[in-house]
């Protein structure tokens, strides 16, 4: 009897603490504090990260997402469009000299009470260039020569190439948030704490509490006078996640109201079937390509059997064979869409020129057409292709994406693909050193203008360094950059795309779709071609 009693006591000593912990946890769960928001307060979750709140120091999605809420821009786009118009400016236009002249609204103030004048604007742009931060947006201001401020509300941007039609978009880009010269440093990146303490905000929101990459709370800024208007909610809390599966579970369970960037394709597909949430889709700015190196691809200029006509036939036959829809559906569960344009859908100037030129004419593959093309050019099949991708920079599905591309090309019987992958650091060096005849590339735009998808890729000595050069394309690229008539400019952009579609220096495969998941009681989530997600339109209830 005694020994039984002792056993019980030993077991009790072991189980009591464990049970107590679970009961305590249960009590906490029952308290009703599930972490969700109350009233018209909104909780947004994201896996993005902030590097710096200071616009001079960062050029990434996570930092820009906050800047869009708390800093004003001279030019900005209303939710639903990517076309820019004056934000805190009264007017903005090119003057007779080709410079860009902006007149500020009068009586502008920062949340700390400081006046927002032309001096702040000049300070903003001068410091981005002066600081020249490693991860800053200085490169976007390459065409800016100087900034002049004739009076408190007038700013004149003197441009190296006058009438630069991309400049209004640059003012809306990560280089464009206007900062308070009394809070920010002129020659160094200002710390997040100093910015928050200094209340140097003149956008739709101010930051009321800030814990770096953990939790940020925003409250409406009464001083904001721009085109976005007053926020429709009481406050917004932005919560940061490291793991997208935790973000997914929290929005699914109602612990947060909105999940914005970045859920995996599988998670989005799963959430589409849930009653507790709604998935909102919008156009994305990311494009994914295959890049051809004109020197080292089959029949390229530096190969032993160099033949430009055969090389072109190979590129075009590849375009005939790839099935973008299959890749988008199978690999990305439609979180990417098939793209047949060099300028993504949703932006002015987007066409579907590749759909007409290649494959079955309606977006699908056509192996027979590819075979005819190769035969006509005298190319012996199968053509051996060395295709390289990167597994750690463009998302974890890159391996699946390129395995499927290989399958499609191999299955045509026209190609034999040797697929290789390289870690990012080496890949970055190799791709511009003629190591890869064909390789994967992803592109996120600097700003929402067609030029950002053309000049970096197709101008001679472009950043791809793939040895593509077309004098007519060069000329039209230069022309469209300064064409003041929007219709004429659009025509030039379409012409450029028609020419590069025939040359096929790159083969666009997929366009990233933006996705935001909201609770069923949340409305006002707008995704558009500006790729800016504004908290001010979100409401609950």
């Amino acid at each position: 009897m005694a020994s039984v009693s002792h056993k019980t006591r030993v077991l009790a000593a072991m189980t009591i603490p464990v049970t107590a912990a679970l009961v305590l946890a249960g009590c906490a769960s029952d308290s009703g504090d599930n972490g969700g928001s109350e009233g018209s307060s909104i909780i947004v979750g994201t896996t993005d990260k902030v590097t710096f709140l200071d616009p001079a120091g960062s050029y990434d999605n996570g930092s820009f997402a906050i800047m869009n809420q708390v800093f004003p821009f001279l030019m900005n786009s209303k939710p639903g469009t990517s076309d820019v118009e004056p934000d805190i400016a009264e007017s903005a236009e090119f003057n007779a000299d080709g410079d860009y002249e902006v007149t500020l609204k009068s009586g502008l103030k920062f949340a700390n009470g400081n006046d927002l004048t032309s001096s702040d604007v000049k300070f903003t742009f001068d410091r981005v260039i002066a600081i020249n931060a490693e991860n800053g947006p200085w490169a976007l201001l390459g065409n800016l020569d100087s900034v002049e401020t004739p009076d408190d509300t007038t700013v004149v941007f003197h441009l190296k190439n006058g009438n630069d039609q991309t400049f209004p978009q640059v003012l809306s880009s990560p280089a464009g948030p206007i900062v308070d010269e009394e809070v920010f440093s002129a020659d160094a990146v200002t710390s997040d704490d100093d910015i928050v303490k200094g209340e140097a905000f003149a956008g739709p929101y101010t930051i009321t509490s800030y814990k770096f990459n953990e939790l940020v709370t925003f409250a409406p800024n009464k001083e904001y006078q721009g085109i976005l208007g007053a926020p429709e909610n009481d406050d917004v809390t932005l919560k940061y996640y490291a793991d997208s599966s935790n973000l997914k579970l929290d929005v699914q369970e109602g612990n947060i109201d909105v999940a914005y960037r970045s859920l995996s394709a599988t998670d989005v597909a799963d959430l589409r079937g849930q009653d507790s949430v709604e998935v909102v889709d919008g156009p994305g700015g990311e494009l994914r390509y295959i890049v051809f190196n004109f020197d080292t691809m089959p029949f390229g200029a530096k190969t032993s059997d160099a033949d430009p006509a055969k090389a072109l036939a190979v590129r075009q036959a590849i375009a005939d064979v790839v099935d973008r829809e299959e890749i988008a559906e199978q690999v990305y569960k439609d979180t990417y869409t098939a793209v047949y344009s060099f300028v993504p859908q949703g932006l002015t100037g987007a066409t579907e020129v590749l759909k007409e030129l290649y494959g079955d004419g309606s977006g699908g593959p056509d192996v027979d057409k590819a075979k005819e093309r190769l035969e006509a050019a005298g190319v012996t099949v199968p053509v051996e292709l060395n295709l390289q991708y990167n597994p750690d920079h463009y998302g974890e599905s890159s391996a699946d994406e390129y395995a499927l591309v290989k399958d499609q090309l191999d299955a045509s019987g026209l190609f034999t693909v040797n697929l290789g992958s390289t870690e990012w650091t080496q890949y970055s060096k190799d791709r511009t050193a003629d190591v890869y005849p064909m390789y994967q590339l992803g592109w996120f735009p600097d700003y929402s203008d067609a030029d950002n998808y053309l000049t970096p890729f197709f101008a001679t000595d472009n950043f791809l360094l793939n040895h593509y050069s077309n004098a007519e394309v060069d000329q039209e690229i230069t022309q469209q950059q300064t064409e003041v008539d929007p219709a004429a400019r659009q025509k030039l952009i379409e012409d450029i795309q028609a020419k590069v579609a025939a040359d096929l220096s790159t083969l666009p495969l997929l366009q990233g779709a933006q996705t935001v998941v909201v609770g069923t009681d949340v409305s006002g989530a707008v995704l558009d071609g500006s790729f800016k997600f504004r908290f001010g339109t979100l409401t609950k209830g």
């Binding site: 005694a2 020994s3 002792h6 006591r9 030993v10 077991l11 000593a13 072991m14 464990v18 912990a21 679970l22 305590l24 946890a25 249960g26 009590c27 906490a28 769960s29 308290s31 504090d33 599930n34 972490g35 969700g36 928001s37 909780i43 590097t51 710096f52 120091g57 490693e134 991860n135 490169a139 710390s191 509490s209 814990k211 770096f212 953990e214 939790l215 709370t217 809390t237 919560k239 996640y241 490291a242 793991d243 935790n246 579970l249 929290d250 369970e253 612990n255 947060i256 990012w424 650091t425 890949y427 970055s428 060096k429 511009t432 050193a433 590339l441 992803g442 592109w443 950043f463 360094l465």
Partner: protein, 362 residues
């Protein structure tokens, strides 16, 4: 750690002589242990310095797809990453010895701030995990010893092996799946719910240890919420060590239970429970203290995975983030701190063991 049993004293030796010898030996032992901290940290920091540079530089990692090779080379040159690696290494050592850990490359935060901000979260998790290890490992070790070679003992030994052989991230995912997703008893991740975090952020002079901060808010719901969030990460990490404790306690209690003085107590009619708890457990706990030193290193290693799995924003979580960005400076700073913690803990453990256990040879 060298906890070797001392040979028996020669018969007839004066009682005071060995005492004096031990006193001098103790301080020499202490000094040697203390001095060993420095090469330990030095070797680790050196290894991290060179290994990080094998994986590429942070500029290529962040700007490799945007800049031309010339622009990239210019940026790398400006940052000094193209200098001979030995020059960079000596400069780094110089900075470390002067207490200058620099600022992270990714987000420009002073390394000291990072260590202070996130170190408290890791410390809190490590304490919770140790508590779990103690309250699970020690009682179960006693039970296993008591039921030696019976089904209960066999089951607990299997449990011990499983708990330290199961990868901590896997244990975390399984726990999360069962208790958060299926049963919905406990939160999925994080250190507190959003509402509690906002409440904690409103405090002046936060300690960074959420339980203390939650108590300071005076809100029972906040305390409960913080504890509820701690249960699964603490279990995932604590069970890793609990298995080691369980086996150690079991072995030592079995060993002690067969000693003469225990038999003597049993013959005097002392009950089995009292025998285990009072006579066998206390001596069996001494080796646990010596093992804690090793377990701290294991816990910190496990914290990287546990913190990532549960969004527990501590040093391990940050280390994983900065590693992905190839942020040399931040990784070196965090690893240096972890090395200091492990080395200091081992030193303290050796010291305590030497004081508690007279058999430790100086």
């Amino acid at each position: 750690m060298t906890t070797v049993t001392a040979p028996a004293a020669p018969p007839g030796a004066a009682a005071s002589a060995p005492k004096r010898a031990r006193g001098g030996g103790f301080w020499r032992y202490l000094l040697v242990r203390f001095l060993l901290i420095f090469p330990t940290i030095f070797i680790l920091v050196t290894l991290v310095f060179f290994l990080m540079r094998l994986t590429g530089d942070p500029i290529t990692a962040s700007l490799g797809d945007r800049l031309t090779p010339d622009q990239l080379a210019e940026r790398i040159h400006e940052a000094g990453y193209d200098r001979p690696i030995l020059v960079q290494y000596l400069e780094y050592l110089g900075n470390v010895f002067t207490g200058n850990f620099g600022s992270s490359i990714t987000d420009g935060r002073p390394i000291v701030d990072i260590l202070l901000s996130y170190g408290s979260a890791t410390l809190e998790l490590a304490i919770y995990a140790l508590i779990v290890a103690f309250i699970v490992g020690i009682p179960l070790g006693m039970v296993a010893a008591y039921f030696r070679d019976r089904w209960g003992d066999a089951g607990l030994r299997v449990f011990a092996i499983l708990s330290y052989a199961t990868p901590v991230f896997f244990a975390g995912l399984v726990l999360k799946l069962i208790f958060s997703v299926w049963l919905k008893w406990l939160p999925v991740a994080g250190r507190a719910s959003t509402r509690t975090e906002i409440k904690l952020q409103s405090l002046d002079h936060q300690t960074g240890i959420y339980l203390i901060d939650a108590i300071r808010t005076g809100s029972g719901a906040a305390v409960g919420d913080v504890l509820a969030h701690a249960v699964l990460p603490a279990l995932a990490l604590g069970l890793l060590t609990a298995g080691v404790f369980l086996r150690l306690v079991r072995t030592n209690v079995i060993g002690t239970l067969s000693r003469d003085y225990v038999d003597a107590a049993r013959s005097r009619g002392v009950g089995e429970y009292r025998l285990v708890r009072k006579h066998a457990l206390k001596p069996a706990l001494v080796p646990i203290i010596t093992v804690i030193g090793l377990q701290i290193a294991l816990l910190l290693g496990g914290a990287v995975l546990t913190e990532t799995t549960f969004e527990w924003k501590g040093l391990g979580f940050q280390l994983a983030y900065y590693l992905s960005k190839r942020d040399f400076v931040a990784v070196q700073g965090i690893v240096a701190l972890l090395a200091v913690i492990v080395a200091l803990t081992n030193f303290i453990v050796d010291l305590v063991a030497a004081i508690l256990d007279p058999r430790v040879r100086y």
